[in-house]
């Protein structure tokens, strides 16, 4: 049975909040990645993601995935949650896309109609997606969002864009809560089963109201910013300090990436 709009919104809101709250909690745990300087962590994650994307060898991708899982465990992240948030959704998304490649890719037939090249192509697609998503979620789950934003600024992303990202993240929760409240209010006033056409009309109006509220809120936020002295300049305090452990981490990671590149040869 198709879930109603309200059920869908509610499920999304609950999942969204659970994920965000879990990310905040796990970022404050005393684990391995939580101790690493965010700049080193993000640069390291980018290096690993690029290595996984550039790899032409399934073994190299498996090594990177293995390292990611080991890092997750060392950072005291619950693997069942990683499976729920990363591995299962990625498999559900990429699996059906990769499956036809088993039969459609021409090459040496392993067992009719599966070809070796098809199997490898499907494995590349799914393993790469699982590995890279695991790495990016590792960063998100071990670094507070504010530190990620600061790091983006330190890495040269324009300040205005960092400011927009920061505000967007904050208001996403508010708007999602507003949307959920609106759908609750509608549900509490609805006593009969709505037709699909009526549901579409209500959804259109609900999105319109949400848009209108967003604009109103942006105007109020703007006035509040001006009242606090905002004149279009945006500053981010950079209090990052690299410690010996960060350099060590950078060295170990560089060694790993170099080993992967050697494996590629």
């Amino acid at each position: 049975m198709t879930r109603s709009l309200e059920d869908w919104l509610l499920t999304n809101l609950v999942e969204f909040k659970k994920y965000a709250s879990s990310a905040e909690d796990s970022a404050n745990v005393h684990g391995l990645l939580q101790q690493v300087d965010p700049r080193v962590k993000i640069v390291g994650a980018l290096a690993l993601i690029l290595s996984a994307v550039a790899a032409k060898n399934l073994g190299a991708i498996l090594w990177i995935l293995g390292l990611s899982i080991a890092l997750a465990a060392a950072s005291k992240l619950r693997l069942d949650r990683l499976a729920h948030w990363v591995w299962r959704p990625v498999l559900l998304f990429s699996g059906p896309i990769a499956l036809p490649a088993l039969f459609l890719t021409p090459g040496n037939v392993l067992a009719w109609p599966v070809s070796l090249q098809g199997l490898r192509a499907a494995a590349f697609l799914v393993l790469r997606a699982e590995t890279t998503t695991t790495i990016s979620i590792l960063v998100a789950l071990t670094t507070p969002w504010t530190r990620i934003l600061k790091t983006l600024r330190a890495l040269g992303v324009p300040t205005v864009f960092v400011a927009i990202l920061s505000s967007t993240y904050r208001y996403m929760f508010l708007l999602l809560q507003t949307a959920s409240d609106m759908s609750d209010a509608r549900r509490s006033r609805t006593v009969w089963k709505l037709s699909a056409i009526e549901k579409r009309r209500i959804a259109g109006a609900a999105i319109g109201v949400l848009l209108s509220k967003s604009f109103q809120l942006s105007s109020e936020v703007h006035q509040a910013m001006l009242a606090r002295g905002f004149r279009g300049e945006f500053y981010v305090l950079d209090d990052f300090r690299l410690r010996a452990a960060d350099w060590l981490w950078l060295g170990v990671l560089s060694g790993f990436v170099a080993a992967i590149m050697y494996l590629e040869k």
């Binding site: 198709t2 879930r3 709009l5 869908w8 919104l9 809101l13 990310a23 980018l46 993601i49 690029l50 996984a52 994307v53 032409k56 990625v90 990769a98 490649a101 890719t105 090459g107 090249q117 098809g118 199997l119 490898r120 590349f124 697609l125 790469r128 590995t131 890279t132 990016s136 979620i137 960063v139 998100a140 969002w145 990620i148 205005v160 400011a163 927009i164 990202l165 505000s167 967007t168 208001y171 996403m172 708007l175 999602l176 949307a179 699909a196 549901k199 579409r200 959804a203 259109g204 109006a205 319109g208 949400l210 848009l211 209108s212 604009f215 942006s218 105007s219 703007h222 279009g232 945006f234």
Partner: protein, 350 residues
């Protein structure tokens, strides 16, 4: 349509980052110039809105459901440049924080959905809507078509990017390294889903929201309304000031009523009034029976010679009728004030 990491080769990703970068820079510059301090809160809320509407799962014909990206409605309300930034921001947060869409493919996803989508939506909307009134049905149809076309052209670009991968990148055994399907499979596979489910979701959201805004908040549709918005703005300007013009005309016609007022305004005496016995009585009556000086104060006498008004006491020398003189003076006075206001507005940029 959020392409994950691993579907596109590093060089394709780099090319699409490079293709998206100038659009981001121009959009950011344009929005900062137009919105100044409003840019951050407005774009943030618009991005948060885009993020949230991706969670609205709509019932579609055929007992299925789908969600919109919101590129159609974001373009209609914010314009193509604002939409590019808002949708890109939502996509970046989805990729970085939620792992929805890859990190290496942020450039590709933003290029397909935010940049191409916004430009297509804007072009289609402007062509179909033309100069139709803001509340016309044609704008609802235009919004529907804009959303539908935007999402489908975006999907077509994604299909092209997928489709060229197996031709360019294979391992030593000949297995495709990235998206494994060639163009003749990738294009139909992507387009069937988007021409039906995803396209319909975008169509319904764009049309539904524009229809709602026409009734509730037509102001939000002005950004991309072109000539129609200008007409409405002018109509609104003339409409809102019309009562003021009528009131001003009535006051001008009523100015001769001033003749009926008895006495002189206290303190608005001329030098000759002090020598006129009847005016002296009025001055004394209006000043608690204090007798005014016999001669006009020397300061008043001296300063009153500096400027001789062309129409003293609102009486035109060439008109015998005092009432007509009053009306003419009112017209001239009001006209001079309006002229001065227009000049100041022109000098100081409104």
């Amino acid at each position: 349509m959020h392409i994950p990491d691993g579907y596109l080769s590093p060089s394709t990703c780099a090319a699409l980052y490079a293709a998206a970068a100038p659009f981001w820079m121009i959009a950011l510059r344009k929005m900062k110039r137009v919105l100044h301090t409003r840019a951050i809160p407005l774009l943030s809320l618009a991005a948060a809105f885009s993020f949230v509407i991706m969670m609205f799962n709509l019932p579609l014909p055929g007992a299925t459901t789908g969600h919109a990206v919101g590129v159609g409605i974001a373009t209609i309300v914010l314009g193509p440049w604002g939409s590019m930034l808002a949708i890109s921001t939502a996509l970046v947060i989805q990729a970085v924080f939620f792992g929805d869409g890859g990190i290496t493919t942020i450039g590709a996803n933003c290029f397909n959905m935010a940049i191409v989508g916004s430009l297509v939506a804007y072009t289609v909307y402007r062509i179909i809507a033309g100069s139709a009134a803001l509340d016309s049905r044609r704008r609802v149809v235009a919004a529907a078509m804009a959303g539908y076309a935007a999402i489908n052209v975006s999907a077509f670009f994604a299909a092209l990017e997928f489709g060229i991968q197996p031709a360019l990148y294979r391992d030593t055994t000949g297995a495709p390294l990235y998206a494994p399907y060639p163009l003749h499979i990738a294009i139909p596979a992507m387009m069937i889903g988007h021409l039906t489910i995803a396209g319909l979701a975008e169509l319904i959201v764009s049309a539904g929201v524009v229809s709602y805004l026409q009734r509730a908040e037509p102001e939000l549709l002005r950004m991309t309304a072109g000539g129609a918005a200008k007409d409405i703005a002018e109509e609104r300007t003339s409409g809102s000031t019309r009562p003021l013009w009528i009131a001003l005309s009535l006051l001008m016609i009523a100015t001769p009523l001033g003749i009926l007022a008895a006495g002189t305004a206290w303190g608005e005496w001329s030098a000759t009034d002090f020598a006129n016995p009847s005016v002296r009585r009025q001055i004394a009556a209006a000043s608690s029976n204090s007798t005014p000086p016999v001669n006009a104060p020397s300061g008043i006498s001296a300063l009153s010679q500096i400027w001789i008004a062309p129409m003293p006491a609102y009486a035109s020398p060439f008109l015998k009728s005092q009432s007509l003189g009053y009306i003419l003076s009112a017209m001239m006075g009001a006209g001079l004030i309006l002229l001065a206001t227009l000049l100041l507005a022109r000098i100081f940029g409104k």
